[in-house]
Homo-oligomer: 367 residues x 2
């Protein structure tokens, strides 16, 4: 077992004290910040997430704030998604691509005001891309990272817990809807969203110094709901087909390859970076695409580098995330598969560090 | 102790197999890639680095390649350092700043050819900044990450080891000089450089698939020199005053504050991003600056967040990196200190998680 090496370079979060008091057993790094990855263990955390409610320190989902008279213009340059109907009460999943349509990040966009947006980012310094484009193009915007740290409340009992702390109204939010709710004199943006399929909320906590008060208030209010510290769970997120930037896709993939073509409905708008490339690809369709892959196995080793997907001895793709699912009794996986072999039902072989295993392309994810 | 959570999102390197065979005991993450942080332990690794020679997997020092007719123009936009005398035989430490002069990265620049450069980067996605500026400004360049993974050979016996594998000529390189040397039919760029004060080299290994062959060749050739796997060592690098981006400085600091004013000699050149801000600051001088800080202690806890530096009950700065030095018998530290208290000899108090300790501003780093 390899230890996690702490460093001043890797930022702690407003919730780190709570995470550590709760006995975090493994850390990862995400956007130069600590991301808890296990408490009781991958499987025990998974079972608990599906039956109760967890607090997740996802402060590492940093915000990029874009503010100024050209904020809307820059935002529409940054994403091929049509933002014309964006509103302060809606989260928008908005892929960000380079000039060739290659994925740079897959953030959630929040329009706070006509000239003020947040991008809630995956694991790449999207701040530098947005700042660089604005600098190069001479736009009248400020681009910076505000003091905002998301705290997720996830699990089937999330509504019950949130109602106790923020009032019944918060449970009226629809999926990807958001609104403002009070805590300790602060007006916090809360969305019904999160990186699981168990339901729940993300609280955009600001300023950071109220983080532990909120953490403790939620813990205290949820004692009889069995609330615990948790974190995004590999098994659960693969069952649900939730993608992880830099694992399941990177700059070499387009949104079409990632199954995100429906978020490219503004690719034809003027100024959209990568728009022309995405329009061309949309005509022919992608040559490879994300697929759910079922692996016949009773256990799987940790995936630390992509596993080749083979058919008749030739490589036809790779598995990019995988775990054994206790609930489904199979290896659940996300793969990028060539068009020749992406039809549901296609039998493949996956090369794992513990040997070749039979796999099959599925129609849908599990959850 | 918290475990390191492996993930497909965090890339392995061409040398990871060697690092793991050598018994890496702690990992960090740097540029979305694994960075070994300890083998025998911080102090034992330190002593060995100072007496023998180590191989360091610093593949995480990724390269940003800039290529095309506007490559030179973009490079000079990206750094306030005058690049007019750059040459293929020289490494140049070249701060990269935003429009306000805030540090975005402190890479080493390598001019490979008139229209081809590498930036060997610290821990931020400088690729996205360089791509963004080029995109926004419509420059004729390609900006991408090539398949290049630095391997450092550091320690007093580095020359002896390198001569055995690359020939005597490699020892003729001066500090920050570089040249091309053969290995297994590949022409590798090698520089006399590295993130220690013990002397040594950085080999820009490409393609990645020769990584383990080179690792093993160096290990085999250096057996009688006591060559071992190692890594950048916190104690040694603080003794030597080597800065770490995102620990000792970040986007809120200018090069002048970081003591890097001498690398801003091109701030007045046309098009340099942040040039005007840096020129203004150079007139008055910075209001705070990096200083060596000596802490009176016989041991120090790990620094995982900045420690306030106090004088007469008021905050006058912070310690950004610190460790107990066995060789100097004191706490060695890097701090950012306000002008009012930065004179060498000034007595301060540093607030650590284990209580207040006396500290003093030093004239120079230890090594």
């Amino acid at each position: 077992m390899v230890e996690f090496a702490p460093s001043a370079r890797l930022r702690r979060t407003p919730f780190s004290a709570g995470v550590e008091a709760a006995g975090v057993s493994a850390y990862s790094v995400y956007n130069h910040m600590l991301l808890p990855c296990a408490f009781a263990g991958l499987v025990e955390d998974y079972r608990h997430l599906k039956r109760a409610v967890q607090l997740w320190d996802v402060a590492c989902e940093r915000q990029v704030e874009i503010r100024g008279p050209d904020a809307g213009r820059l935002m529409q340059m940054l994403t091929p998604r049509d933002l014309s109907r964006a509103a302060p009460s809606r989260c928008l999943y908005a892929p960000v691509v380079d000039g060739r349509g290659g994925m740079l990040n897959d953030p959630v966009a929040l329009k706070l005001d006509e000239d003020r947006w947040w991008l809630s980012i995956a694991d790449s310094d999207l701040l530098l891309w947005a700042k660089g484009v604005a600098q190069g193009a001479g736009l009248r915007v400020e681009v910076f990272e505000p003091d905002v740290s998301p705290l997720a409340v996830q699990g089937p009992k999330a509504d019950a817990l949130m109602a106790r702390v923020f009032g019944e109204a918060v449970t009226g939010l629809r999926f990807f809807g958001c609104g403002r709710f009070g805590f300790a004199g602060h007006d916090l943006l809360i969305a019904r969203s999160g990186y699981s399929k168990q339901g729940g909320f993300e609280i955009y906590v600001t300023p950071g110094e109220i983080g532990m008060d909120l953490w403790q208030a939620l813990m205290a209010a949820g004692r009889d709901l069995d609330v615990r510290a948790g974190c995004p769970n590999l098994i659960e997120r693969v069952e649900g087909g939730l993608l992880s930037y830099n694992a399941d896709m990177d700059i070499s993939n387009t949104p079409h390859e990632c199954g995100l073509g429906r978020y490219c409905n503004g690719a034809n708008l003027p100024g959209v970076i990568g728009g022309a490339a995405l329009m061309r690809e949309a005509e022919t369709g992608p040559q490879r695409q994300i697929r759910p892959i079922e692996i016949a196995a009773e256990a799987l080793p940790p995936l630390t580098a992509h596993w080749p997907l083979m058919a008749d001895g030739a490589r036809v793709g790779q598995v990019t995330s995988a775990a054994f699912s206790p609930d489904f009794g199979v290896g659940v996986a996300i793969g990028m598969v060539n068009k020749s072999h992406w039809t549901p039902g296609t039998a493949l072989v996956v090369e794992t560090p513990q040997g070749d295993l039979p796999a099959v392309v599925r129609e849908k994810f599990w959850n």
